[in-house]
């Protein structure tokens, strides 16, 4: 658990951070809260010559609540997501999910940007952002661009983000009144990744359904969402079970995970429906 040596950088703005990434290429990695990267470094499964710490960059901070859109800076911590009253009012699903991530110590440091950008299939926020139809803002040497959360994830730890880009902000449409939301997660203990987790929004004739840690990327299912929008819960669950591809690990075999996935999804749907309208 002793990491290899590295150079530490602490730029004060996004442009400087991108400059460092450009200079060192794939020798450099950005670090946000560090809760995924530092353990990997200690295990020497991640080794890089240059670590670019984003915590001094004010442009990456802050939560803005608009009437149609909520914007989260990439360096907003899970703790801030939980304690921000305006956010809890606008999109209660985010607080509900953040409370189920790790433990308070981790949530003081862990960031929403790190959680979505790392591409770890165990992380909760990617599935949540797909459910909410969020958009990730990326800054790179060629300027800024946006990628939909539903388009961002390619495989475990592989995303649409280029090596020299930084995920700077997350924009989320406010679901609006009448839309019920719920996040249901089964885990072995506090601090664990999900055995299965489901994010559900339903109401006003619309629905969106995403699940976590049941494939090498988060799974948002158009078919499951459409079925639920039509009020067809069984169809929704069936479509989602078709879409997920869980693998056996210490949490259990595939058969178990599929069963639990269905249970979590049904519970999330129940709760979301009870909050709708």
């Amino acid at each position: 658990m002793i990491p290899a040596g590295f150079e530490y950088h602490r730029p004060g703005d996004i442009a400087s951070a991108i400059g460092i990434l450009q200079e060192h290429g794939d020798e450099a990695r950005v670090i946000a809260g560090g809760h995924s990267l530092i353990p990997m470094m200690k295990l020497r499964m991640a080794e890089m010559g240059h670590l670019v710490d984003l915590q001094a960059i004010d442009e990456l901070k802050g939560i803005q609540i608009g009437s149609d859109t909520v914007t989260l800076g990439a360096m907003v911590t899970q703790h801030e997501l939980i304690t921000h009253d305006g956010l809890a009012a606008a999109i209660p699903l985010i607080r509900e999910a953040a409370l189920q991530i790790a433990d308070p110590q981790v949530r003081y440091m862990g960031t929403v940007g790190g959680n979505v950008a790392n591409g770890d299939p165990g992380n909760d926020m990617p599935g949540l952002m797909q459910c909410l139809n969020a958009t990730f803002e990326l800054s790179g040497p060629d300027g800024n661009r946006s990628v939909a959360a539903r388009e961002f994830y390619e495989a475990a730890y592989f995303t649409a983000r280029e090596d020299e880009e930084i995920l700077t902000r997350i924009s989320i449409p406010v679901p609006g009144a009448g839309v019920g939301q719920a996040y249901e997660k089964q885990k072995r203990k506090i601090g664990d990744y999900a055995t299965a987790a489901a994010a559900v929004m339903v109401g006003n004739g619309t629905a969106s359904v995403a699940m976590t840690n049941l494939a090498d990327t988060p799974i948002w299912s158009e078919g499951a969402s459409a079925a639920l929008a039509d009020g067809d819960v069984n169809g929704c669950v069936a479509a989602m079970l078709d879409a997920i591809e869980p693998v056996a690990d210490n949490r259990g075999p595939v058969e178990f995970k599929k069963h639990v996935a269905a249970v979590m999804l049904r519970r999330a749907i129940d709760r979301a429906q009870s909050r709708a309208g």
Partner: protein
Amino acid sequence: MNDQTMTPEERAANLKGMGSSRKRVEDVRFTQGKGNYVDDIKLDGMLFGDFVRSPYAHARVVSVNKEAALAQPGVIAVLTAEDLAPLGLHWMPTLAGDKQMVLADGKVLFQGQEVAFVVAEDRYIAADAAELVEVEYEELPVLTDPFEALKSDVVLREDIADQTEGAHGPRKHHNHIFTWEQGDKDATEAILAEADVVAEEMVYYHRTHPCPLETCGSVASMDKVTGKLTLYGTFQAPHAIRTVVSLISGIAEHNIRVISPDIGGGFGNKVGAYAGYVCSVVASIVTGKPVKWVEDRMENLMSTAFARDYWMQGKIAATKDGKITGLWCHTTADHGGFDACADPTKFPAGFMNICTGSYDIPTAYLAVDGVYTNKAPGGVAYRCSFRVTEAAYFIERMIEVLAIKLNMDAAELRRINFIKADQFPYQSALGWEYDSGDYHTAWDKALKAVDYDGLRAEQAQRVEEFKAGKTRKLLGIGLTHFTEIVGAGPVKNCDILGLGMFDSCEIRIHPTGSAIARLGTISQGQGHATTFAQIIASEIGLPADDITLEEGDTDTAPYGLGTYGSRSTPVAGAATAMAARKIRAKAQMIAAYLLEVHDDDVEWDVDRFSVKGAPERFKTMKEIAFAAYNQAIPGLEPGLEAVSYYDPPNMTYPFGAYICVMEIDVDTGEWDVRKFYALDDCGTRINPMIIDGQVHGGVTEALAIAMGQEIAYDEMGNVKTGTLMDFFLPTAWETPNYITDYTVTPSPHHPIGAKGVGESPNVGGVPCFSNAVHDAFRPFGLVQSHMPHDHWRIWKIANGLGMHG
């Protein structure tokens, strides 16, 4: 203060002696981060060691190339078996009479085995250089199943392949270690053949790990001028370590000082000797500088001593009315690559022969076969006396299985088979003499406290609701009545490496009436400095707050066999009382002299001797202490101190009644402990608050083991649970509230009647949680399912019983 204005009760309370919930004196430094652990030791010029470990579970080591590592600036040395061989230190003896590689000698037998030891100027350079050591391996077939190992042509231990005789008798196969038999095989089999009812089941107690908060480590410092070696380390038995280091290194024992500083939990993990200790010593001798080795969490889980891994095939015979007539057990014990079990020499399966439990079982037979596999060595007593938790789990499962077979209530089945209070001392069929007990009283108190009949009624209703589709949650009522055997032990049958398992205490009273006591044990969180001072306070009438307690430095403390197996209070606690009584006997003579009466004319009164019939004429212990140093008393040496080496006449047998109420979600396998009631009888209670703390901690570790904690291997011998993500260590969130209770049945042979408590909650807790899971599914046909009961395994039970439609 000490005048006649206070009642004897008030004076006794001021002493904070036995029975007082005195706050732990250790916690002042622990809660402020001022503890002094091995990794806090920093010596001038200290070097750091790190291991190159095998990624394979079974492989030949073809070559080790150190060049790139040695070329790294700051790297001092890279040690391999070849370097240790001239010193005879490439192998070391184990506590179980086997030998174990210190560094891989030609092959590796488990993943994580130590292959080379890198010594560098700082911890980071050592870790970098360890990556640069190039080891070429040739993979060999891997054996992770002990039953398969006993049939396989693959020879794990080539060094002893031809030896048909092991440390514990004949070996039947090249991967077989020993067979240990107790009881009467023929008589038991005859009873099984004729019994009204026989229940048979395989009970597996999976491999787990003590996982103390502080991992293992050592700092060795060889002073080449004085020729003296100082060794700091995470040792539960520092004196035994000194003797072993002397025997294997050739350094005279008086030139070795072993120090166990504060230890952050042991639970058996820190009883044995590890390659890291040996390598730090060798590296210090070679370099002439202090060398520190501290393992990380993954190394701790992968390579240091595991616990359990017993496959227990059981048969239990009874009359149709439920009176048990016989018990048969055959255990296949997976010991890993080396037999490094920490048991008394004559007990290769520990005290597994306590497996008749709390029951009057007239005839029994136990056989244990030890087997080598490609797993880490160990087999330590993880918060239990030697293999007692395995024994308790076995019998408490077999009772449940028998209750199912008889269609009886499991609480009633226990009650009709308990050893009765008037049967003590009780001679068990497998060779133990239980010192004291009153199981029926404890059992009835426990059942009443939880409203057992009410719980059963609620459970029956829940079953109906479940069948009617009104709920998806089941209710399980877990029962356990356990009997521990602790306090090893009588020197006549208990030794470790030939060292008798006595223990010791030395007490010195200072002229002003304060004192220091030193013991041969070592606290790892048990609170010895608090409780042993309380024993002395009650015995000699000086306040516990005025008594310093020291352990763990072999240059100052008297020789003892250390702290594990709940032996500190039964053995060292007895030595403490005996040493205190020697002081009191001398104090009596001093008091009589001062009071100008005959020795027999004074009597003890809490904190003083007074003249019989004239209580106003007295001398307090404080006055007596001063007199011991400033008066020339005819016939008495000056000073006031004593030492006692205590060889207990028997073990002690704490017991308890535990009940768990658990809710289980059949769709997800999730569980929730609604209530956990723990009644412990540990004999005389020294500090009720510390007992509660011990019970809370021990039951929490039991919860961990029963509900998820395991060291799991894949078929290639890779450890699948090497981090705390996958190795279940409960947080406060998963830990239920506990209700503690007690009865008091003193040990008749212990000077203060105390029995020890630290390990009871783990011994009783594991079967209690497991029985709760089983009990929830009993109405639906479950008989036996193996731990750990994590979500997917509970789900699998429900699935197998057709509960998922």
